[in-house]
Amino acid sequence: MTSSSGEKDFSRREFLVRSAKAGAAVALAGGVSAWLFDPEGPRAPSASESDLVTLPDFSVSGLDRKLSIIQGADRVKSLDVALKALGGIEAFVKRGDRVLVKVNAAFATPAILSATTNPDLLAEVCRRCLKAGAASVVVTDNPINDPESCFSLTGLREAAHSAGARVILPRAGFFRPTTVAGGSLIKDWPLLHTPFQGVTRLISIAPVKDHNRSGASMIMKNWYGLLGGRRNIFHQDIHNTIKELAMMVKPTLVILDGTTTMMTNGPTGGSLSDLKATNTLIVSADQVAADAVGATLLGKTVSDLPFILKAVEAGVGTADVESLRPVRASAV
């Protein structure tokens, strides 16, 4: 058989043979694919596997019982007074340290709603760390809403950059499974881990907020932003989850911002009328003590917030604030 162009065409037999070969190749590829396909997908590595990660202890020996409670409407001034009372940022951050600042960037809401870390406070903390000789300062969080919007609309990205810090947005490959030693809820759970590589100091900055499930969102609840996966399931046992989050992280310093407190409709708020000027900045190395003081700004006691007492029982810190001999001062 010859085509009109003069080239030799396939014979009928040759056509059938080649079609059969092609069909066999397709069937083979499909069969091999079906054989290799794993319908359940990969599982998280189990606790017995060696690649489980835990965060190191970032606390500074001898400074773990420091607490200052400063009155004032100006966050920068309050921070200045609070840090001086604790020996300056230099007591916590040394030359060459690599600092990670964990903010609360949970929602893509404007800074005036106080649902997220205040950008001015973040910028000042970053500036002071770098001035103290920190080799680098990175700012991170795994927000509830999409990270790009959260960091830009809250003003946190701009604040960090203006102070010379770097923002690390969470990405898929940044998570590694962790298990909280002595815990029962956070097991083989994805932890935002990559930003911690090389980090020697950890500072948390969080606002004081009402929270529909836990009663309050402060420092200990802020570690929720280090988890990945479908973490909303932890809301079913929120108090024990917050306790385990506190067990998971041993920070260098925590800064609880009660300059403006979200009194109602937390954790998102939405209205300026949800806020109250409580003019208090709490700086401590003890995250439990910081939250115990923060509770009072919400008109609550530690017994109103079970996660605080649970954290005390777990040995994370103390709710007996006076035992730390807090420095109380005014920045006005």
Partner: protein, 327 residues
Amino acid sequence: MKPRVNRTESAVGLLILLSLLGICIWVYERQSRFDPSVLVVTAPQQAVPERPASAPTIESPFQSLISERLSPLGAPEQFGAETLSEKINGKAELYLSSGFVSLQCQRFAKGEGGRAWLEIFVYEMGDSSGAFSVFSSQRRAEGEDVDLTRFAYRTANALFLAHGKDYVEIVGSEEALIEEILAIGKRFVDARPLAGGETGELGVFPPDGLDPASITLLSANVFGYEKLDDTYTAMYTSGKSKLMAFVSRRESSDEAANMAAAYERFLLDNGGSLIESRLNIPGVRVIQLFDMVEIFFNKGERLAGVHEADDRDAAEDLAMNLYGSLP
């Protein structure tokens, strides 16, 4: 004669086969790699479209509400019951327990630079009671009523309203946006005329002394009694006394009677004592609870009464009015 295959064809064929082999190896390797940022638990199938439509080309559901001064600051988002917490985190339970169906939201910027922006949230609840429940339970005391729909108020930077089965929040990044926000709210309400009677039990409260803004729907565990749910409460002023009336519509008159009896037992088990009634209401119970009185009765399908009143005389007057106003 066997047709010839030239070298180019052979090379292309080989290249394609090698490419396919490479893709197979890559897919096989990827599927065996654990990625913890991806869902650990596979979510069940949802009737409602789930994760936000992130493509910027998707048409905004709010296009007809916004003025030409506003431009989208991001793509519209949609959340269902399984994903609501990805938007509002710990507040999701409040909505889920009130019949939440879906949330649509989107941000819009005003002017250059995107510094002034607002976000529209439209929560579709199962019915008007659900919308009213989330509206009333989050009501800001400083809110100022707005004449848009029956349940609407504004604060310095935001508008909140319940309209039919929708609960709407429009939140601005600054106070200067409030006029724009109110205009959006008006367009939303105007575009959705309601049939009468969509607000359930709200009309049964007698008007004398009523604070209309105080009407609240409690969906569960009402007054600490776990069996009592779906109860409307309203605050009244009578002289110097503040009183709370309540109405709970049950499935039938028998169930209303049973609930009244069960609520009586609950109160007696918790330190209350039954005292003699001075009211001409069939089956009324008056229970002294410490230094307060609880008055309640069942009428038709409803359990109703006055909760924890300091002033017995005022509470009895209100109970009589309430009894008279119930159908």
